[in-house]
């Protein structure tokens, strides 16, 4: 399959063994919770098995063949992930996931740069993972948080607000690239350029954009970009933080331990350059290598094709939701991430999701780790259906049938 020709999507789907299962009551699985975690293709599962079958050893210190091989694969994985998002190899730090990436910057960057009275700017759409680390950092340093307001249920940011909010006391602007609860796609390039022109550092939360749309961190112009592997066909427990080389080089360590040091005495130590400085202890070697395999897999299909597939399926899904009596899709009218939150009149999202599960349909219900946003929009949570390229038109049509039946059940 070459990235230039449109993939055979049913053949692609067949590469995901988990998707062909039936649930305990005999219903075929319809997996529409991809914004929470994606499924894994056989090629990725095989890469994990291959590593533990043939190549497993600790990295960076073993002077024997197996360790050299593991080290080589681990470091090549760094280069592969860098290539996937348009970064340089030394700009990629392996993390446990998106959340750890944000926490790393909220510690290392803030301890060097944040002072009492400073402001960290966020948006009202942030996932708790891009909110709580900044709350904690603000508490540590006597700084405050401000939020770019979201207008309404369409998830659109107030277009006039940002320029006026990037004031001199703002030192860092951290925002979600694609909202996990509403699907809003923020104009990351424009925002990063504006922030940079005023000397404000930027962090882009790429949890829902990596693996879904083409991402090039140099084009985005951000200082930091965080992603999690398990939402892009890799295992849980592995993610990556991109940091612009000049930024990383001047940051103090996050965790202390082995691997990140240059020379150690009992009372002090010197640290290695980035990225090693930020990877204390034995890393998730298999995770990194398999994340690289996931990058290979996704690039094999072509991120452009994946984005187009996401878009077509999402349009069908939003139309399907809005066509159901008593159901209202929430989120942007135009382009959006591969997901839709929705509410069903008279039916709480948790009852809806429990009922959907009886039909084999996996949805998410609740506040989607965006509690303040739900409060602001006066929603008692929403149900959410989220897609990836292996979902099918037939699954979306079946989802609509199931939701219609659920609406009747609770009416």
């Amino acid at each position: 399959m070459s990235p230039s020709s449109t993939p055979d999507w049913s053949a692609v789907r067949a590469q995901f063994p988990i998707l062909s299962q039936v649930q305990s009551n005999g219903q075929p699985l319809i997996y529409l919770d991809n914004a929470a975690s994606s499924q894994k293709p056989q090629a990725v599962i095989d890469a994990l098995v291959r590593y533990y079958t043939h190549d497993n050893a600790n990295v960076h210190r073993g002077l024997y063949e197996l360790s050299a091989r593991a080290t080589d694969q681990y470091e090549r994985a760094r280069g592969r992930v860098a290539q996937f998002i348009g970064a340089e190899e030394n700009e990629i730090i392996f993390t446990r996931g998106t959340t750890e990436g944000v926490n790393l910057i909220a510690h290392a960057w803030c301890s060097k740069n944040l002072r009492a009275g400073d402001v960290i700017l966020l948006t009202e759409l942030e996932h708790h993972s891009n909110l709580i680390p900044w709350q904690l950092a603000a508490q540590r340093h006597g700084a405050t948080l401000r939020f770019v307001p979201v207008l309404d249920e369409t998830g659109a940011p107030d277009p006039t607000a940002l320029p006026a909010m990037l004031t001199p006391e703002v030192k860092l602007f951290a925002f979600v690239h694609i909202s996990n609860s509403l699907g809003t796609i923020h104009p990351a390039e424009e925002w990063c350029a504006l922030a940079r022109s005023r000397g404000i550092a930027t962090l882009v939360d790429g949890a829902q954009s990596a693996g879904h749309i083409p991402v090039n961190v140099k084009d985005l112009g951000c200082d930091f970009y965080v992603l999690g592997g398990h939402k892009m066909c890799a295992p849980t427990g592995i993610g990556a933080l991109y940091g612009r080389a000049e930024m990383l080089d001047e940051l103090p360590p996050f965790h202390g331990g082995g691997e990140m040091i240059e020379s150690v005495r009992y009372d002090r130590a010197t640290y290695r350059a980035a990225p090693a400085r930020f990877e204390a202890g034995t890393p998730n070697i298999a995770g990194a290598i398999v994340l690289a395999a996931a990058c290979d897999y996704l690039d094999g299909i072509g991120i452009g094709h994946i984005a187009a597939r996401d878009e077509a399926l999402t349009r069908r899904m939003v139309d399907a939701l809005n066509s159901i009596n008593g159901v209202r899709a929430i989120g942007p009218e135009g382009p959006r991430g591969a997901l839709s939150s929705f509410v069903m009149e008279g039916v709480h999202p948790h009852d809806l999701v429990t009922a959907a599960s009886e039909y084999g349909l996996a949805l998410r219900g609740g506040h989607h780790c965006t509690q303040p946003l739900m409060k602001k929009l006066k929603l008692p949570g929403t149900a959410r259906a989220s897609l990836y390229f292996y979902n099918t038109e037939a699954e979306i049509d079946r989802m609509a049938e199931i939701l219609t039946a659920i609406r009747k059940y609770f009416a």
């Binding site: 009551n25 999202p349 429990t354 219900g365 609740g366 506040h367 739900m374 008692p380 949570g381 609770f410």
Partner: protein, 150 residues
Amino acid sequence: MNPLDELYQAVILEHSRRPRNNGPQPVPPAFHAEGVNPSCGDEIEVWVNFTEDGKIGKVTFQGQGCAISQSAASIMTVKTAGRSVEEARAMLTGFHEIVSTEIDPDMDRFGELAVFAGVRQFPARVKCAMLGWRALEQALNRSEASVTTE
């Protein structure tokens, strides 16, 4: 009966659509407590008014949540009114048993509460059923506090 019908019994759906004793009571004389389910964000506030002889007078609740949490709280307000604190605590223990164990719920002892036995097939929903009861437990201690179902 399929698991969904066992979970959403007619009585449960009826109480969720038309919750009883819904709304705040003045504090004081009533004691007030709040239950929060962090995994879904559901919140239920409970008010308990005691009679002069120390029994539970009126119990009311207010909150937003799923059919299970709303109906469980609604039925709780009906069942605990007029009972002693000890009786209400025993009822809470029994209710927890009904929603979370394999033990046959004692229909004679718990009557209408037994309709919640279907919850046991949905472990993720036990917290929903317990939310109002946990807040009540707090109010029975006559302490202003917020509890979570984690």
